[in-house]
Symmetry: D3
Subunit: 149 residues, 6 copies
C-alpha cells in the first residue's frame, strides 16, 4: 500500500517541476525530512539523447544514483524513458518529427511503501513545453516515470 | 507565447488532479475567475474504453464540450488519448497486459495564449495508480494531453 | 523499377476503394486485362480482428490467395496489418480506444515490376470512416499495405 | 454527417496525389468551386523532418494555413504526422531504418460537414514509394491525416 | 562487466526454452550449481493477459519471485512485457489482430555481474510459434526480457 | 506444419548466435546437410541503420539473398526489422535514446515446412548486449524475425 500523502514519490517529483517561485520550498522541505535524495534541472533540445543525458548527469552529480552501478543506472534509465513517453505521446522522437522541448526535470528517490522490504523507488518528472522550433508555437507537456531501484 | 503563469492550461489541469484536501479550492477559484470551463472525476478500470468514456461523459455533462459537435468531441478525444499515453507509457493497453488503473481526471478548457486568435484549447490531466489487479501492487502514474478546440 | 502507371498495384487497389458509382469499372477492366486477381468488400466493426477476418475471407473466397498455403496467408496478413496502421494511425486499436470504423476494402494481386523474377505482390487498400460509436462523429481514413507473395 | 461525395475532404486530397496527367484538373476544379484552400508538392528524403517541413512550407506559402497562428500549425502538424504513420506503417522512422521515400503530397482545407458549426477541417494526403536507398528497390505507400482546424 | 559465459542470465534462460529432449539437463545443472532460481512452463493463448498470468503464476509458485512483494512483481512484470515485445514484434496484441501463440517460457533469477553490488537480475525467455488460429499457419517466435530485481 | 526439430528455421538461426566456441559446428553441419543458405557476423553501433546495413551486406555477400531482386531484399528487410524489435523492445531506436548494442547476427534461409509449396523462408537472429555507451553498463538482448521469401 502507498504510504500517506507526503510519501507519494511521483506526486512529490511532479510538484517540484510544477512549482512556481517559492512553492518548491515546501516540497523540498518534506523531501529532506524524509531523507529522500533528489535533484532538479532544466534542459531544452530537439535531441532526445540530450534530455536523457541531462537527467542522468544531474542524478549522478547530486548522488541520487551511483554512477558506477549499472543496477541503479538501469533503473533511472527506464524511469526516464517512461517519463519521456508522457512528453512525446506516441512517437518517442523530437527533431526527427521537427519538434523541440523545453523541460524542467526532477528526480526523487525514496521508499514510498509502508512495507520496508519494498525498498527504494525512483521517480523522474518532466514538465515544460513541446512544439515547433519557433518561439511560441508550443504547448505544455508532462511525463512521469517510476521504477524500483 | 504562453500567457502568465495562472493561464497555463496544462498546469492548472494537473494541479486539480494532484490537489489534496482543500488545495483544489485555489485552482478552482482561479479557473472561475478566468471563466474557464472545467470538470473533474474519478475512474478505475482494466478497460481503456471505460476511462475514455468516463472523461467524455463528464466533459459533456459539465458543458466543457458540446456533445453534438464532432469538432469538439474530436478535440477532446485526441487530448484524452494523449493523456492516456503518459499513463500507459508504451503500450496503450490495460487489461490485455494484466494491469489496472485508478485515476483522478480533470478537463479544463480555456484560452491560454495572449493572441486572442489562438482561441480555445483543451487539457486532459490524469493522476492515480497503475499496477496489477491486486491492491497495493501499484505505483503512481500521470498523463497530460492538450489540443486546440 | 515500377512498371507503367497502369501496373501500379497500390494505386489500383486504392482507386477501387475510392471509386464512386461507375468509376470502378475502368479500374476493374484494367485489372482483368492484366489478369490480376482482385476482390472487394465492406466491413464495419469496433473489433480489429473482424476487419482482418473479413479481408482474409474475401481474399480466400475469391481465389486471390490460396487458403491452405501459409506462405500466401502470411503475405496477406502482413499487408492487412500494414493497411490497418494507416487507418488507426498510432495505436492499432479500435474498441479499446472507444472508436469504430466503416471501411471499403480491396485486395489486388499482380506483378507490378518489369523484371519477371520479382514475381507477384499483393496490396490491401482500405478507405472509409473512423470515429466515435455515434453516427456522424467520424472522419475519413485510409490505409495501404503491400507485400511480396 | 459527411456531406455529399464531392465534399469528402480526405478523398479529394487523396485523389490529388493519385491523379495522373490531366486527371487532377477535375478535382482542382471541384475544390475551387467549393472555395476550399489547397496545395500540392513533391518531396523525397531519408529524413522525416524534411517531409514534415516541406508540407508545412507549402501549406504556409499557399495560404492553406496561417503561419503565425499556432492553432493552425498545430492542426496541420498532427494531420501530417498521422499521414506519415500510414506511409511508415509501424515505426515512424526512415533513414534510421535505412529506408527512403519519394512522395507527392496534397493539403486540402474545407468544411466537409453539413452542420456549419463543424467548421473547417484539414487533410494531408501522401502517395509515392518507400524502400531501400537504391533505385527500384521500393514499393508504393500511402497516408492520410485529418484534423479539425 | 558480464561474468563468464556460464553466468549469462539471458543466454541460460533462452537455452532452456530452445532445449530439446535431454538438452535442458545441462543448463539446469549449471543453474543449480550457481544456486540461481528458475522455472519453466508452457502456455498457449490468443489473450496476452493469459501469457503474462501464466509466467507470473509459475514464477510465484516456484519461489523465483516473492508474490507479496510489489518490488519483485514489478521487476518480473516489466521483464515479461519486454519478452512479449520480441514475440509480437510491433503491435503488442494477439487476438485483436487475429493471431495466437503457443510458447515455452523460462524465468531465471541470478547475479550475472562480477560486482556483487549489482545484485540480482531476472530474465524471462519465450520461444514457440505465432500465427493464425489454424494449426500449421504459424512460424517461430522468440522474446527475452531482462530487469534488475 | 513445422517439420521435425532439425528443420526449425528460427531455432537454428538462434542457436548460431547463442553458440559458444565449438558449439556452432553442429548447427552449421545440420544446415549444410539441409543445403540451407546461411551467414553470420558481428556488428556494434548506436545507429540502427548500421545494424540493418551490416546484416544486408553479409546476406548479399554470402549469397543468402540475391541483391538485385527487390522481392528478396524486401523479405530480408522485414525479417531484420522484426528481429530488431526484439532487441529494442518498444522504441525501435538506439542512439536517440542514448543506448548502444553489440550484436552477433545470423541469417538462415531454408524450407521449414513439410508442404513443398510453402517454399523458402528466411530467419534473422540477433543476440548480444544493449545498454549505455559505457562498457559494462549493459545487459543481454535477443531478437528473431521470420518471413517468407
Amino acid at each position: 500500500m502507498l504510504k500517506v500523502e507526503k510519501r507519494k514519490l511521483g506526486r512529490n517529483a511532479m510538484m517540484l517541476v510544477l512549482a512556481q517561485d517559492s512553492e518548491a520550498a515546501g516540497v523540498l522541505n518534506e523531501l529532506d525530512q524524509l531523507s529522500w535524495k533528489h535533484c532538479q534541472g532544466k534542459v531544452g533540445s530537439m535531441e532526445l539523447q540530450k534530455i536523457v543525458a541531462a537527467i542522468e548527469t544531474a542524478a549522478k552529480r547530486n548522488g541520487v544514483v551511483e554512477s558506477g552501478l549499472y543496477r541503479e543506472m538501469h533503473a533511472l534509465y527506464h524511469a526516464t524513458i517512461e517519463a519521456v513517453q508522457g512528453v512525446t505521446r506516441g512517437q518517442v522522437e523530437l527533431g526527427d518529427l521537427l519538434r523541440t522541448v523545453g523541460l524542467k526535470f526532477a528526480v526523487v528517490r525514496g521508499n514510498p511503501y509502508e512495507n520496508p522490504q519494498e525498498g527504494e523507488w525512483i521517480a523522474v518528472a518532466l514538465y515544460g513545453t513541446i512544439g515547433a522550433p519557433v518561439r511560441g508555437l508550443e504547448h505544455e507537456t508532462i511525463g512521469l516515470g517510476i521504477n524500483h531501484i
